[in-house]
């Protein structure tokens, strides 16, 4: 198992700084997910670990060795791409063994590794096929197989599931997680899909504009977002933000919303972050709002409430008796909400 560490990394592409002074330590055997909106530099960061883009300054270490200027093939990595990137003129078998053949691995050893990967990914019957004869899911498995036969120390995934339809994506996602458990290798995975990030990651790195906004376990990042960007990026429906003030006793007052939070020191302007599951509609709730919209989701409903200037979502799991226009009383779970500094957007 291998660790990866990036130190003071700077990447400039076409004169534009993409990554700025970035430090990141990836633990051995970890499944690290780089999450962020498109253009946040997460793919560029992954490519710099793979050696596919030049770094301006800083260091990339893999397994304790400085790999900043090493060739991609010398880094002990396997990579899986969004577009599968299979060699179209080669069979599945040749696709998987291409790297080993270049490296001059003995034939018997190539055979053994290809067979093992094919068995793990259920590709045995497809080894003689060309990529064009495979479905999208099968192609992506071949691409994973190609990374597997390299017996890489670190696996890099660049949005590997984005080209698949929703059902296949969910299935392959589970298979990836099982694969990680079986191999125990270090995996770094880039996605803009928060469901993938939440389900796969042992730690999530949330990025914005080439900088890391928060690193933590999926629950940590979700429950205790470090700033408003992370809070707004994760969760669907998104976290609602309410502007207001915090008094010295830890009481938050906004338009139509008042809440006794954990005492947080000095009085100041603050923003309250409320997730849908923090809002409970109940008859004895201390606040009231007007139902504006009810979205049925099958196993639950999302009820949208207008309360003063704020719009809050609430999850209702039993039969929903609310209709737009109703006035309902609700409560907010003060122990779970987030509070942010009105100026900096950082968590208080």
């Amino acid at each position: 198992m291998t660790n990866v560490s990036l130190r003071k990394l700077n990447i400039v592409l076409g004169g534009k700084p993409i990554i700025r002074d970035l430090d990141l330590a990836v633990e051995p055997g970890e499944f690290l997910v780089l999450l962020g909106p498109s253009g946040c530099g997460k793919s560029t960061l992954l490519h710099s670990i793979a050696g596919l883009v030049d770094t301006e300054s800083g260091a990339v270490e893999i397994g304790g060795r400085d790999m900043t200027d090493a060739d991609p093939s010398e880094r002990g990595i396997g990579m899986v791409f969004q577009s599968y990137a299979l060699y179209p003129t080669m069979t599945v078998e040749d696709n998987m063994s291409f790297g080993l053949r270049i490296a001059g691995t003995p034939k018997a050893e190539i055979r053994r590794r290809v067979d093992r990967a094919a068995a793990m990914l259920q590709l045995d019957a497809l080894l003689r096929r060309k990529p064009a004869q495979l479905s999208g899911g099968q192609r992506q498995r071949v691409a994973i197989g190609r990374a597997l036969v390299r017996e890489a120390q670190v696996f890099l995934f660049d949005e590997p599931l984005s080209n698949l339809d929703a059902k296949l994506r969910a299935e392959l996602r589970r298979e990836l997680k099982l694969l990680h458990r079986a191999l125990g290798s270090t995996m770094i995975y880039v996605t803009h899909d928060q469901v993938e990030a939440m389900t796969l990651a042992s730690r999530i790195v949330v990025m914005e504009k080439g900088e890391i906004r928060q690193i933590g376990t999926p629950l940590d990042v979700y429950e205790r977002p470090a700033n408003r960007f992370v809070a707004g990026f994760l969760g669907a429906p998104a976290m609602a933000f309410v502007d207001g003030t915090l008094d010295g006793a830890g009481r938050f007052t906004g338009d139509g919303i008042a809440l006794a939070c954990v005492p947080a020191g000095a009085a100041q302007a603050a923003v309250l972050g409320v997730r849908p599951e923090h809002v409970t509609i109940r008859a004895d709730g201390p606040m009231t709002g007007e139902v504006t919209l009810v979205e049925p989701m099958g196993n639950h409903h999302v009820v949208w409430l207008r309360c003063g200037a704020a719009t809050l979502a609430s999850l209702v799991h039993d039969a929903c008796r609310h209709a737009p226009g109703d006035r309902v009383a609700f409560a907010i779970d003060a122990a779970r909400v987030s509070l942010f500094d009105a100026q900096t957007g950082n968590r208080l």
Partner: protein, 312 residues
């Protein structure tokens, strides 16, 4: 892994589906409207316009000179003869020698084969390097190369003659191949660069991670998947080199006169009577190679013409 996730082994690749528009649409399209009739009349007229000269050439080449002198260029030959064809191929005078255009044919083959293969290979390497390895100044380099495509050949003839004479290869087979290589380079490079720009960059990245170097990725990954563009490039280059007159005249030298130059010598001979039947036969013989190429690969030919128009 869950076996249910794999599609059935024979899952049809996508292209199968979109070949069949609804039959109703097709039927509606086939109905004859005045516009359709007008279109057919125009197409027929255009076809006749181009086919009529060819018809005249063919019938004339099959007539004796006596019959030609009687006039009636559209008339079918009374007594068709292949003698003019025999003469054109192996007997007519092309300047000093009287051995027909066949020597020119073999000269043209000797020029066209290397002047097709070399520019394609070099153009492919150029296009590959420009789109994947992006050396410093790649865009400037490509811009200069493209500018070269717009300079008329005639402007370069004199300097090229001097340079080749200085190198001591003026008027030889290598000289004419080299000249074709130089003039073919911009279009060949453009063709391959555009093709490789359409190849996902991730494929190149995957090959880099697999340990491929410049030549290995080119030879084992990129070139094998370039067949469509190689065919297009070959059509363009063969047609261009075969139909070339001025470069062959200037650079090939006496011993390697291409067919096109010899044809001109045949037709412009000023002594004796003009042998129209032989001239026609020699002309058809000379045009046969590009014509055959066109018939064999019409679909690719059109693609080759369109290839210059795709995004750069």
């Amino acid at each position: 892994m869950n076996p249910d996730t794999t599609a059935p082994p024979m899952a049809a690749p996508a292209p199968a589906a979109h070949d069949q528009p609804a039959p109703a649409v097709r039927r509606a399209r086939r109905r004859l409207t005045p516009a359709r009739i007008g279109l057919y009349v125009f197409l027929l007229g255009a076809a006749l316009f181009f086919l009529l000269p060819l018809y005249v050439m063919v019938v004339t080449s099959l007539k004796t000179m006596d019959e030609i002198r009687q006039g009636g260029i559209f008339a079918l030959p009374h007594a068709a003869t292949l003698e003019p064809w025999r003469l054109a191929w192996s007997g007519v005078c092309t300047g000093a020698a009287c051995e027909g255009v066949r020597t020119g044919f073999w000269n043209s083959v000797a020029i066209t084969v290397p002047a097709t293969i070399l520019p394609i290979l070099l153009g492919a390497v150029n296009g590959y390097a420009l789109s994947f390895w992006r050396p410093r100044g790649a865009n400037v380099l490509f811009g200069i190369l493209m500018a070269g495509a717009f300079v008329p050949v005639q402007v370069m003839i004199y300097p090229l003659v001097r340079v080749l004479a200085l190198a001591g290869i003026f008027g030889s087979l290598p000289a004419i191949v080299l000249v074709h290589l130089v003039f073919g380079m911009p279009v060949m490079t453009l063709l391959f660069r555009n093709y490789y720009c359409g190849v996902p960059h991730e494929l190149f990245h995957a090959a880099r991670i697999d340990g491929g170097g410049f030549w290995r990725i080119f030879l084992q990954v990129m070139l094998p998947m370039s067949l469509p563009v190689v065919v297009v490039a070959a059509i363009m280059q063969v047609t261009g080199v075969w139909n070339d007159y001025i470069l062959g005249l200037v650079f090939a030298g006496r011993d390697h006169m291409p067919m096109m130059v010899q044809l001109n010598n045949v037709i412009n001979t000023t002594t004796g009577t003009r042998q129209y039947n032989v001239n026609m036969a020699a002309t058809i013989l000379t045009g046969l190679v590009p014509l055959a190429l066109y018939f064999v690969s019409g679909r690719w030919f059109v693609r080759g013409i369109a290839a210059g128009a795709v995004k750069g």
